[in-house]
Symmetry: C2
Subunit: 335 residues, 2 copies
DNA sequence: TTGAAAGCGCTAACAT
DNA sequence: ATGTTAGCGCTTTCAA
């Protein structure tokens, strides 16, 4: 079954050598126009494509890039993936997506799996659980091209693409303050995530700039990125049971927001706090306690990250200085 | 850069032949226990994995399966993909996901791209735009294993996994009727999609069974599956501008629902119709005009489809009779 | 029990 | 301008 044609078949059919066929196919200049025509026409006729696996073996590369994210169902990541694909596709690369579901163990396995020579480079957004990143470091040391986006590893020297998390968090928190909130809580992602730190700083700065106090007990971290609902629910429950209930909540991510809202619906008797947070979902404006959202340029971030990765892959010489690209967020008010 | 170890390296290091190493690695019974131990230990020590590309070339298969869906951001598909991955991963297959964005052209390109020998089989859910399926037929004829799920092609003889679309549609429509709706509209997907036909039948049957009339002008098809918002918006606008406005709407899909709600919010002055429809999103219960939803067993569908595909791939002999598996939906009321 | 060698499909020196 | 050949990493007959 499914026995594809090879250049050997073409060579035989046309009474040429395989190398001539190969060269004609790739447009080698040493081949006479006439032969080239004959080969090309014939290849076209039988709808020939060369075996990418053989090509990979030969060239020691697979023309595919691996993408490691926590969850494809997350609007931010699905948009980023669209951006990645748009670039990859144009440059002739396959995109292999793998999900960690924010588990450290899955991240280790998936990166290894992808890296074991089936992929030319890796685009990674770290899993929430990951504290030890020896697995990444190892691949990086071995010379596998890696670009981080969104949830980056600051210590690893390569290209990184992030959004302005500080400013986004600042905007959202300031919005809540300007709306009159005096007691603004923060539902954060896992502590070890780069975005968590940056967003927390923006939150704190906005509080201070608006004459409010930073109270660490108002900050709840979700170590599993909201992967299990109990985590978010108990955080919200805690907050709503305080004597000084929050009148505003700054939520750090999309998945957290949904959990948040569900929990609030369940536990807030009466008025619910005002909510603002990072989200790339388009349903956010349709939600009952609506959420004003910090939208990240997900598609652009994906594009940029893919571009950079392919730059590294195709670069003849090791890249000297790696930059970190910071893209701006957009704040959208939903009353 | 990134020069991985080969069995040749191991052979040299251990003073054995490559064939001995190869056999030891795959546990060939002809190798002495001692040699096996030595090789295995060494391989373990240097963290050796054999080059999957060379393996692919040799075995004429890539241990990867391609998944073609319209959109990864769609909750139904992301859940189905999780199901697919859970099986594929266990059986040692990579999953390559590609999106058509419901475009016919992308579907043709992506299936070709995947099929050109880099993939051992294909899991497909048809794009909304596709009317001509010669591209699928061709691959099928060439012997490439294909399994359809959700949006299937009835004419192609292979395994198919769907949910009970008729019953799901029936349940949703009946729910609306029982709530007192007298004038129930239907926002449908593209006409040529298998699910469209089945769901429409369920909708019509429920109307009739509940003493309501079927009025074709109350059925609006979205040929691009809601890919462009105008499509859904104008459908809703049309419906709401009728002299006999619908008091209930049965929506055929998740993406359509969001568009629907947005449009309703914009165009319905005063009371909005009751809405029920197919959706696998968990936010649906949080939406302002809330949606009661028919949930498909997406994860299970993905699992089943992947299982069947791998069965075909690994089957020694051509499969005789292909079944179509129908899984039940679940109806969830959101007040 | 182990090794030598051919071959999967393709490319690229190196001939001619 | 075209052909011959070796080799990418691995498996597998065949021989020893």
């Amino acid at each position: 079954m499914f026995k594809p044609t090879t250049i050997k078949d073409i060579a035989k059919a046309l009474n040429l050598s395989t190398s001539t066929v190969s060269r004609a196919l790739r447009g080698g200049y040493e081949i006479s126009e006439e032969t080239k025509r004959i080969v090309l026409d014939y290849a076209e006729k039988i709808n020939f494509t060369r075996n990418p696996i053989a090509l990979s073996l030969k060239e020691r590369r697979s023309y595919s890039i691996g993408v490691v994210v926590c969850e494809v169902a997350n609007p931010f990541f699905s948009q980023a993936i669209n951006g990645i694909e748009s670039i990859a596709y144009n440059k002739g690369y396959h995109v292999i997506i793998s999900q960690t579901h924010d588990k450290y163990s899955r991240e280790v396995i998936n990166t290894e799996h992808l890296a074991n020579r089936s992929v030319d480079g890796l685009l990674i957004s770290m899993s929430a659980e990951t504290k030890d990143y020896a697995h990444i470091e190892k691949l990086h040391k071995q010379g596998l091209p890696i670009v981080f986006f969104d949830r980056i590893l600051k210590d690893i020297d390569t290209y990184k693409v992030i959004s302005n998390n500080f400013q986004g968090a600042y905007n959202a928190t300031e919005f809540l303050a300007k709306q009159g909130c005096k007691n603004i809580a923060h539902i954060a992602n896992a502590k070890q995530l780069s975005i968590t730190e940056d967003r927390k700083k923006g939150y704190e700065k906005a509080l201070l700039d608006n004459g409010l106090e930073v109270d660490d007990s108002m900050i709840k971290y979700c170590e599993h990125g909201g992967d299990n609902k109990e985590e978010v629910e108990s955080a919200i429950e805690d907050l709503l049971n305080r004597e000084n209930k929050p009148d505003g909540i700054f939520v750090a991510s999309d998945r957290l927001s949904i959990g948040c809202l569900t929990a609030i619906k369940k536990h807030s008797h009466g008025v619910s706090p005002l909510i603002a947070g990072f989200s790339n979902s388009d349903v956010v404006s349709l939600l009952k306690p609506s959420i004003s959202s910090v939208m990240q340029p997900a598609f652009e971030m994906g594009r940029k990250a893919a571009e950079l990765l392919i730059d590294i892959i195709e670069s003849k010489y090791p890249i000297e200085n790696f930059e970190t690209f910071v893209l701006e967020t957009e704040f959208k008010i939903n009353e």
